[in-house]
């Protein structure tokens, strides 16, 4: 069985989502499986009407412009493009928390790249077999 990277994504901030996406891409490159569970702000950030326009940062908001400018200079892809590429080339499953989906009043179809809506208990049964578990 392949090693698995399990990420519980509470954040909806672009800086932390970049970190998450780079880890997902790195895991797929190493033939690891990736499983992601979106909680509160994570579900919000994957909404089809939010994913591309959201520019929230979790830290150093005053440096946001500088970082974005530098990312464009370096032609770095956006976090959702990195994640989409990982999903296309490897095994990346994305789940939305059922409670958070109720809170935002969204279904699977309203969210980008999400494979299913599940509860926290079901998520933990998946997470306990992972080699690497992270809360983002």
């Amino acid at each position: 069985m392949a090693d698995k990277l399990s990420m519980t994504v509470m954040t909806g901030s672009v800086d932390r989502l970049i970190g998450m996406a780079i880890l997902a891409g790195g895991a797929v490159a190493m033939d690891m499986e990736v499983e992601i569970f979106l909680q509160l702000w994570g579900v919000y950030a994957f909404k089809k009407d939010v994913i591309k326009s959201n520019m929230n940062l979790s830290e150093f908001k005053e440096k946001g412009e500088q970082v974005v400018k530098r990312m464009k200079e370096l032609n770095l892809p956006m976090w959702f493009d990195i994640l989409k590429q990982a999903k296309d080339s490897g095994t990346v499953k994305i789940y939305a928390c059922s409670t958070a989906s109720t809170l935002w009043d969204v279904k699977k179809e309203d969210l980008e790249m999400v494979d299913d809506v599940i509860g926290a208990g079901e998520w933990l049964l998946k997470a306990k077999d992972a080699s690497v578990t992270l809360f983002i």
Copy 2:
């Protein structure tokens, strides 16, 4: 031996504490044990004189009112009620970091639901047997 969910809780923000409490509840529902270690803001948020009044968010502060309103509409319990219920129905141990407790000048009795005050080394000996380890 039951699988164990180990959470190191640095945060004192309600959004992240909701995520933590939902994971604790889900773990207990799946017969997993839960161990929690409170660091800096985590100890602050569990203070008896803070736990119910604290409304700090870690992200998207401008959406706080909307989220709280929606949680009331859905009759979702507060994070500490979810955690208390998990503690009543399963094995959930909560430890406060000794350094952080000194910093806030609190003892076990000043904190809600805390079972003991321990050091980081002792905490890591507990964490290393867990199936799922998260930093919140």
Copy 3:
């Protein structure tokens, strides 16, 4: 083989870095190995021209002054001094993410305590053998 604590450090905020450093120190005290991978703000915070002057907090910015004052009263060392001491007395390896290093235009020599610059894939191969994995 010794148990290993693996921390992926996205944050550049002093409160979360204190938590990270205390965990590293505790792990070394228990004869565990420690491996750290710096992402976006983590690389920024380890820059030689930033590490000592950076006072950013991730949460409760309005309580920053109170916490710093109290830490001085208690003679608590700064996070980088705790980490340096852990590195001197045990096995602590610190890696900077290659993408983040390009973004900040830094080399290993521009960063404090960093042993190497590596990619996310290589990092995950290290992380998957750890007993405790955290995203800070």
